[in-house]
């Protein structure tokens, strides 16, 4: 049921006079559970909402048929026993004018997913059509089927060749993720305490604050060359790069969060007898958790976007290395597969962080 009908219905019970009821054109008290509420069929007929004319007013659909019987009862309830009806249908009355009046047959998330999946399907269809038209040579624009084919090629043996550059796709991915987790992990482990320290010790903030701002504003590629000179071409410069990309946002988020903890919150724990260390442990740390989690999310995002750059030099195995290597051989389908895999992976990691956030900071927004 669209929100249209919800709004139309929602207005009526509150505003309508009994005359409207008499016409049978509208409902009893707005006795409908909110969208996630219990199935309406459970509603006893006596207190059931009047459904008779519902279909006429809204986007009339099949649902109305199933409710004819209840409608009459609902009318009675409306006219005769408002208090009883109120009591019996309390939750829905609360939902009031803005509450939904009918239970959608298809849940909202399913609709959303359906729309989104169709959109993706359409997009792939367009891509396929353009590729099939060969406006550009397949070397530049392979079709979706070519990219999909590469998925199988790189995840297995093909013509005796193992994956891509002797590594399966999942191995490339695993090596990249391992670098990411190391880089971002160190950034979290060091960034949070350093952020707290900078917030608490003012001279330290004067000294290191600008340095961290400086670092944050540098494009990671700018110092990657230096890292290669210093650390060579193995994993060290890559992990360091990801670390340096993730570190400043975490420090800054933490330091800002610590400094913006309301004074009265600290006062509240100190009046309970806490010393300075206890007040940091029991109040500052949990207080800053929401902002720190946001900082971590941002930082992991930044270091994730840096991964391809980090793996341009000797990046195989690694998903970024795979992409930059494929680019050298004009293997456009592999490049595109790599991009898609990186994108999906990024979404997955972000989702994971958001899930952690929800578990760790259930009070966010309160």
């Amino acid at each position: 049921m669209s929100s249209n009908s919800i709004k139309i219905d929602g207005k009526l019970p509150g505003q309508d006079t009994p005359a409207t009821v008499a016409t049978g054109a509208t409902a009893g008290p707005q006795a409908f559970p909110s969208p996630g509420g219990p199935a309406r069929n459970d509603t006893p007929a006596g207190t059931g909402p009047g459904r008779v004319g519902q279909g006429d007013l809204s986007l009339g659909d099949a649902e109305v048929d199933g409710r004819g019987g209840q409608g009459i009862g609902g009318r009675e309830a409306f006219e005769a026993t408002p208090p009883a009806a109120d009591a019996a249908t309390e939750p829905s009355v609360k939902a009031g004018p803005t509450g939904t009046r009918r239970k959608p047959r298809v849940p909202r998330w399913a609709k959303q997913a359906a729309v989104q999946l169709s959109a993706i399907a359409v997009l792939i269809g367009i891509w396929w059509a353009i590729a099939a038209a060969e406006i550009w040579p397949p070397l530049l624009l392979p079709g979706p089927q070519d990219v999909f084919h590469q998925l199988f090629v790189i995840t297995g043996y093909h013509d005796g060749i193992r994956g891509y550059s002797n590594y399966f796709l999942q191995e490339h991915l695993w090596h990249s993720m391992s670098r990411l987790f190391q880089g971002a992990g160190y950034a979290i482990l060091l960034g949070v305490p350093i952020g707290i320290l900078l917030a608490v010790v003012t001279p330290l903030r004067w000294i290191f604050g600008p340095a961290i701002d400086f670092l944050r504003n540098l494009p990671p590629l700018a110092y990657f060359s230096l890292l290669v000179i210093w650390f060579g071409i193995d994993d060290t410069p890559k992990v360091t790069l990801l670390f340096l990309a993730a570190f400043p946002p975490i420090v800054i988020a933490t330091a800002d969060a610590v400094r913006s903890v309301p004074a009265d919150r600290i006062n509240a724990v100190r009046m309970l007898g806490a010393n300075r260390f206890q007040s940091i442990l029991h109040v500052t740390v949990p207080s800053v958790l929401p902002e720190v989690m946001t900082g971590i999310r941002l930082a992991v995002g930044i270091s994730f976007t840096t991964i391809v750059a980090a793996e341009t030099i000797n990046g195989v195995p690694g998903i970024g290395g795979m992409v930059s290597d494929a680019q050298r051989f004009n293997a456009t389908d592999v490049v595109m597969l790599g991009i898609i895999v990186i994108g999906i992976c990024g979404l997955a990691i972000d989702g994971l962080i958001r899930l952690t956030d929800r578990l760790l900071v259930p009070w966010r927004g309160h």
Binding site: R265, N267, A268, M271, L272, G273, H282
Partner: protein, 278 residues
């Protein structure tokens, strides 16, 4: 709730009444660093153990600042704050604060909030549990102990805040417009409950409020402050209307001549009638 209050407060009190909870403010000057515009200038006030002092006055007259100075959240630029013979140099569990907005810790449950004070003091788990059970029962949150803070209504949050403040067995309770954000019915109920807590514990209470009615109803002494800079305009020992009667007769108290006379007097002093609630 009378018996439970008696039991609850009595169980936590290890001292005799009227011995601790003495507050002495002498020549207080405080400006939050802006010496050209002091918030409080040369204020002195002595509060005896067991008094229920209500501070009234217009916004910005330094009531809350005074409370913060007693709590040890702020330190006076001039003068001295002495509590039970010792100059206040930090906040402490002997001076509990109930804030205007409950100021509870949202990452802790209702019980966790109440138990934090005893926990910081090194009280063992079983004893903490006993304290929180007792106090939550007393403030009517016995069934809400495991709830999240944000699941509580404003009134329940303030009850929890009171329970948290009582958990350290304070000799002084400082309340900064604790019921200001509550609806009238909840406020009246909590007023009577705080009176009951005060009667049983004989703690010293300093209660900041905007409401003259509230101040007269609750206090044994009403101190009217004026602003810019903050000073005491009127110091009125009133005996305690609500304290002696219980609160069942709230209406007749409010209509009594004595009450109305005092109310007029306080309002005239503030010079700002018509701004009161109730």
């Amino acid at each position: 709730m009378s018996p439970s209050v008696k039991e609850a407060v009595g169980a936590g009190t290890s001292r005799g009444p009227g011995t601790v909870g003495r507050i002495s403010l002498a020549g207080i000057v405080h400006s939050y660093g802006r010496e050209d515009a002091p918030v409080i200038d040369g204020l002195s006030l002595a509060i005896e153990p067991g008094e229920f002092v209500c501070l009234v006055g217009p916004s910005g007259c330094g009531k809350t600042t005074l409370l913060k100075l007693i709590a040890g959240f702020e330190f006076p630029e001039g003068g001295q704050v002495v509590v039970d013979g010792a100059t206040v140099d930090r906040p402490g569990g002997d001076r509990a604060v109930v804030f205007q907005h409950s100021n509870l810790f949202p990452w802790l449950s209702v019980r966790g909030n109440v138990e934090l004070g005893p926990k910081l003091a090194g009280t063992g788990r079983a004893e903490r549990r006993e304290i929180s059970d007792r106090l939550l029962e007393m403030v009517g949150l016995g069934d809400a102990a495991e709830k999240k803070i944000w699941e509580l209504s404003g009134g329940m949050q303030q009850r929890c805040s009171i329970a948290r403040a009582l958990a350290t067995d304070p000799s002084i309770i400082l309340m900064d417009e604790p019921f200001g954000a509550l609806d009238a019915i909840t406020r009246e109920r909590l007023q009577d409950e705080i009176l009951e807590i005060w009667r049983e514990s004989r703690s010293t209470i300093v209660f900041v409020t905007h409401g003259v009615d509230e101040a007269l109803y609750l206090g044994t002494r009403v101190v009217v402050m004026g602003g810019q800079p903050g000073r005491i305009l009127l110091d009125l020992p009133i005996g305690s209307f609500g304290a002696e009667t219980g609160g069942d007769v709230r209406r007749s108290i409010r209509d009594s001549t004595a009450f109305l006379d005092l109310k007029r007097k306080v309002r005239d002093t503030i010079g700002n009638p018509g701004k009161e609630e109730d």
